[in-house]
């Protein structure tokens, strides 16, 4: 059943088949050359196709992907560095602006303080002058008043002496006595 009617050219081979009929077809050595020949042809073609066309193509795709991923990572790193720089620049600008504002505020405060001090000083000078003038007037008035008090005391003493003695005292003596009394307290 396994063998179709024998063509003349296959007579030898068929004899071998007949011998192997009961055993393993694998050990029918008449089939070996054919198997090995076709294996060489098909496997050789497979090797050629794979090594020349298919495998390089797959390899290229995988490599390109790895390159792309590496490139993208690099690009991402670059952009991150850029963003970091920008953030740093922003921080710096903010710090500078803050420092400048601080400086301006300080300057203004100092200027105002100086102005206030100057004006205060000027006002104090004016005030001191006025105070001095007033004090001088008070002193003069006091002296005048005290002089008037002495004259009044001398007149009173002369009047008292005239009343008691009946004669008018020497005004010079009265004046001397009043001064002496004023000195004793």
């Amino acid at each position: 059943m396994a063998h179709p009617p024998t063509p003349v050219t296959h007579a030898v081979e068929d004899a071998a088949h007949g011998a192997a009929e009961g055993g393993l077809p694998q050990l029918d050595f008449a089939t070996w050359p054919g198997q090995i020949f076709w294996l060489a042809v098909t496997f050789g073609l497979l090797y050629l196709f794979l090594s020349r066309s298919v495998l390089p193509k797959i390899g290229t795709v995988i490599e390109e992907r790895l390159d792309k991923i590496a490139d993208d990572l690099d690009e991402a790193g670059r952009l991150k560095a850029q963003a970091d720089d920008a953030a740093k620049a922003y921080e710096k600008a903010l710090g500078d602006a803050r420092a400048k504002a601080h400086a301006i505020a300080g300057e203004t405060r100092d200027k105002l303080n100086a102005e206030i001090a100057k004006e205060t000083e000027a006002a104090e000078t004016v005030f001191a002058e006025k105070t001095d003038a007033a004090e001088a007037r008070i002193r003069k008035t006091t002296q005048a008043a005290l002089a008037n008090v002495r004259d009044a005391a001398a007149d009173a003493a002369a009047a008292i002496v005239a009343k008691l003695s009946g004669g008018a005292p020497d005004p010079a003596a009265v004046s001397k006595a009043v001064d002496a009394a004023a000195k004793r307290g």
Partner: protein, 250 residues
């Protein structure tokens, strides 16, 4: 012979060709499945990479995954020096994987269940290993059989063992794959014919047919795993053998 579990492995000519030097090189069912495997791999991968995009679709992901899987395997074991063998190891892995898987489907013929095929692939690997060793290290390649740093008398023991284990490599490599594929398919076929035979008896026997049916299901699942595993084992052993001659300092 029709229902022999070995029937499925027989090779029939599809397109008879005149013999060359007394050898029959007809296009057979095994040639057909080899061709199908190659067409599936090249066609599938080309289709998946037809419009490659930065963000891969499902098919492209699968193609890239197989690429990274084999590439990662070579890089892990041999380092970057081994990458020039990448196309060979990739072809080997994909060819065995697809041939194994094709054997699981409707028209079951498994190219890799033939020792002629697995032995050819194993010998190709060993030839590449020997050539690489001779090209990279010249005569130093033979140090592979006499690891340095042993007392002299030990070499009398070690060298024959190393030579035998090296010669055994193509045999173990090919027989492992061939036997796995053969055994899996024979078991499937036997359980399958149990189901048919028990079903044909009728009555209580037909009910018992559930048992081999379940076993056949379980084995089918296992066979998918084996199909992948054997392709992986073949490829990784190829890489390990290559690594032996790339880095010769053990």
């Amino acid at each position: 012979m029709e229902h022999s579990p070995l029937e499925q492995f027989s090779i029939h000519p599809i397109l008879e060709l005149p013999p060359v030097a007394g050898m029959d090189l007809s296009f057979t069912n095994t040639s057909l499945f080899m061709t199908l495997s190659v067409l599936l791999i090249v066609g599938g991968l080309s289709l998946a990479m037809r419009r490659p995009s930065m963000v891969p679709g499902r098919a492209q992901s699968l193609a890239e995954m197989s690429y990274e899987f084999v590439g990662g395997m070579i890089r892990d074991i041999t380092g970057p020096e081994g990458m020039k063998f990448f196309p060979y190891v990739f072809a080997l892995f994909m060819f065995i994987l697809v041939a194994n898987l094709l054997g699981m489907f409707v028209l079951p013929f498994t190219v890799t269940s033939h020792i002629a095929v697995t032995l050819s692939l194993a010998l190709t690997t060993i030839c590449i290993v020997i050539l690489t060793g001779l090209i990279r290290h010249g005569f130093g390649f033979f140090k592979l059989f006499a690891p340095s740093g042993l007392p002299i008398y030990m070499y009398l023991l070690i060298t024959p063992i190393e030579i035998i284990s090296f010669v055994a490599r193509p045999i173990t490599l090919s027989v492992r794959l061939f036997a796995n594929m053969l055994a899996g398919h024979v078991m499937l076929k036997i359980f399958g014919s149990f189901v048919v035979a028990l079903g044909g008896l009728g009555g209580i026997w037909a009910a018992l047919a559930v048992l081999p049916l379940g076993a056949a299901f379980a084995i089918t699942g296992l066979e998918f795993l084996v199909a992948f595993l054997q392709a992986y084992v073949f490829a990784i052993l190829t890489v390990i053998y290559l690594n032996d001659v790339i880095h010769m300092n053990h």
